[in-house]
């Protein structure tokens, strides 16, 4: 199967009541399962390996319809001592200032409010994004070259 066919299957699943789909070809096997609406999904990253978890919402950044308390669903409420560096703009996320350079920060890096953590490119302009949080980076939530929206969580930081 190529990516286009996989997308077609996902589309078909979303538009129907199908909860699981599995296909095996020579040298290739894929199983797609719908995430259960009754179980809270703590993060929206695809599980690595052969299984592709299909989240209730199409993209990690979009809330599920009409949550009773009116707030976005998705990652659970902020844990104590943790904060997130969020995108202040719409654009493309880069870990470094150019393909040849080193990443601005890696997992475990210590940051202060003014540390440059990444670049977000918008309309051909490379914008350096500052941390605005103080602590150490415990998780990197987006991938190099991924489009990001306003408010999207980029890094999880354990505050000092």
């Amino acid at each position: 199967m190529d990516l286009k066919q996989i997308k077609q299957v996902i589309d078909l699943m979303k538009r129907s009541d199908l909860t699981a789909f599995e296909v095996e070809e020579e040298g290739f096997k894929i199983k797609i399962k719908r995430g259960s609406d009754s179980l809270p999904i703590v993060n929206h990253r695809p599980v690595s390996g052969q299984y592709l978890e299909l989240p209730p919402a199409e993209s990690a950044a979009r809330a599920a319809p009409a949550a009773p308390n009116g707030t976005r669903s998705g990652p659970a409420a902020d844990e104590a001592g943790m904060t997130y560096i969020k995108s202040p703009m719409v654009g493309t996320f880069y870990r470094s200032s150019s393909p040849e350079s080193k990443s601005f920060i890696d997992l475990g890096a210590k940051v202060t409010e003014s540390t440059v953590v990444c670049i977000i490119e918008a309309m051909k302009i490379m914008n350096e994004i500052q941390s605005e949080a103080k602590g150490s980076v415990v998780e990197i939530l987006v991938e190099n070259g991924q489009p990001v929206e306003y408010g999207q969580r980029l890094f999880k930081v354990k505050q000092d």
Partner: protein, 454 residues
Amino acid sequence: MIQKVLIANRGEIALRIVRACRELGVKTLAVYSEADVQSLHVQLADEAICIGGPRSADSYLRADRIISAAEIADVDAIHPGYGFLSENAKFAEQCESCNIKFIGPKSRSIKMMGDKSVAKDTVRKAGVPIVPGSDGPVESESEAVKTARRIGYPVIIKAVAGGGGRGMRIAHNDVSFAKEYHVARNEAEKAFGNGSVYIEKYIEKPRHIEFQILADSHGKILHLGERDCSVQRRHQKLIEESPSPFLTPGLRKTMGKAAIKAAAAADYENAGTIEFLVDAKGNFYFIEMNTRIQVEHPVTEECTGIDLIKQQIKIANGEKLDFDQGDIKFEKHAIECRINAEDPARNFTPSPGTIGLYYAPGGHGVRVDSHVYSGYSIPPYYDSMIGKLITYGPNRKTALERMYRALSEYLIRGIKTTIPLHKAIMSDPVFIEGKATTGYMEEFMARTPTDLFT
């Protein structure tokens, strides 16, 4: 070939655009503020990108973020809806330079018609009647008086920098003019920082009648009839209908031709509206052109049967309009009531909050354009319009009766709305007889007890 459209708007019009795109097989991208995460169109669109905080200035007016979203999602066109950036010539220009099709007129048409005096001058040269007045601001009191006498009393003195019905004084003769001229100048200076005023003929209790224009990129310009929008409160429209109960077929033909001339003078493309004031004798005067789709477009859609939003997308796609002026028939009478989250019994104070039970009317001849639903929280950051109720039928009587019936079924619990006000107007003899002019609302409110609105 337009395959994906970014909807640079929110609320009911964003939902309307999603629906039209769906029917055309075009993909949709909703851009939204953090206050609109639970918005219906955001859930229904194929893709969605958050572009900012709740305030419009931090989201829906951020042209840079909107264009950024358009680029990362690889859209072909942007539909600006109404309000926000829809009449921002600079935004249209930015789209043009980024090779994204702006679903609307060319940026220079927007610029031309955006300046009220340039607009009037442009259409006047094309032979369209305008409200007689001074050519621009008056330089001195003596010039002002001369202008007033030339035009003929009564006249209205307007602030050049004013708008939204503010900074206007009326004078009926030389004596009152001398006084009102100075008052107007002082008020304008204080309110807008600019004391410049211009003079116009004051048309007493006119009807506000506007013509819908569709123009393709191959030179064809058509009009889709008029909408009578005379029922207004503080220059905000409340009720619109088509055809106007006042126009005769002859006057409709004449005004239709004038509307097309005005659009041609602006080198217009896509959907637009020419606004006129019409006096009791049937004299009509151009006041302005709206270079965008309007709130009340469903009235024209139900009257003529033509889907205006789909036509907008087709025109933006470079397609020719596949019908002519003679093909357009005004088969139904349609009327629209704007449903606002306001309390008419308390001077229309906004009523934000969470909608408990929501039940929309239905049945033959009823259309509801609304983005709200049971449990929806109305964000306090935007305007108070929560939906539009449109009814239509073979004649005006049926459309009105249907509107009264539909308003009676419409349940929106948990907030105050203007539904009871609309019901009262539908039962009012002056309105039923088709006699409403722009003076109607003030007169109606003065003689109607407010407990009729609860």
